[in-house]
Symmetry: C2
Subunit: 191 residues, 2 copies
Amino acid sequence: MARDTKAAILDVAQDLIQTRGANAISYRHISERVQIRKASLHYHFPTKAHLLEAVLARYCGTFLCLVDDILGSNEPAARKLRRYIGLFDAALRAEAGAKICLCGMLGAELASLESPAVAQIQRFYRQNAERVARILEAGRETGDLRFAGEAKSLGLLLFSLLEGAMLVARADGGSKRFRRVAEQFLLLVRP
Amino acid sequence: MARDTKAAILDVAQDLIQTRGANAISYRHISERVQIRKASLHYHFPTKAHLLEAVLARYCGTFLCLVDDILGSNEPAARKLRRYIGLFDAALRAEAGAKICLCGMLGAELASLESPAVAQIQRFYRQNAERVARILEAGRETGDLRFAGEAKSLGLLLFSLLEGAMLVARADGGSKRFRRVAEQFLLLVRP
DNA sequence: GTCTATAGCGCGATAGAC
DNA sequence: GTCTATCGCGCTATAGAC
């Protein structure tokens, strides 16, 4: 069915972009993994820009839903942060091979992307930083966390840290090193 | 002179890679900025891999020297950290256009690079994390800084944070937002 | 050292049969 | 929806004149 093929293409494209980057993959790479010919991909996604936008939209939507699940739960702030960190760690641990956040990868490639994609990436960054800030602020109010400064700054800090730590840990140390850095962050904000 | 041409090529290539990424640039892009024909570039750097390795080697060497200058100075730890942060901020502030750390960009593109480059990037990460850890440990001993956990973990944390914050801030907020995140980090480790 | 010219390839995208 | 075939382009790299 069309819908399955479309989803399969998105799956493979997303995986390849998270691993190698949008500028390092081609319709041929995708067609070799989805059982379909290169030209047929254009039926589902006329141009590479269309495909990229679809991958981005799906990823951002799914990811933000997972984050909102965490926000809506009744858990201590430290537990929420660990679950949030786990969302990123999952990509590093992927059995298919270490990946980084889709929007981290595309953030690096930002200057070679078209503006709708750039706007989506900016929105992803803002939404994440803002949600992390909410967890932090709530944790500070309950006394579950302690830190100086504004929750908004610290939210952006943690989000930036996770994006950077994925990048660095993928090159050296993997998920284990990533989790070590994340735990070190938690040490800094525990009372 | 040959040496000037070579250096000019390296300058332009480095700038383009920090802005757009190694996978998004070509010999043509470089030749348009250096006053030389596309084919002539191959005289200085036979292949793209050679060029990339030369850019990397020069960047890592220069950057580590600047870091070691900071380490060797007689300043309080917080001041050393601010100077270290300034090394990254300089790329974001570049008048030619916002850039990220060369090794941050290449870390994203890691899966599409050849192994000598990968090894150089890993080394850059380790050397930076280790030097930051030394600043942090010394600062803790003098009472200039206060933090829980191991200096080694926190060194990797700060380095990862700066790489991630460059990426995120380039997309949204620029140098100003980057410095805000860096100052928030300092708040967390001040006594 | 730098040039012009070009080989050879992979790419994104389209046309048209089925 | 998927196929085969192909166009036209930009790329890395090389050959050979100057």
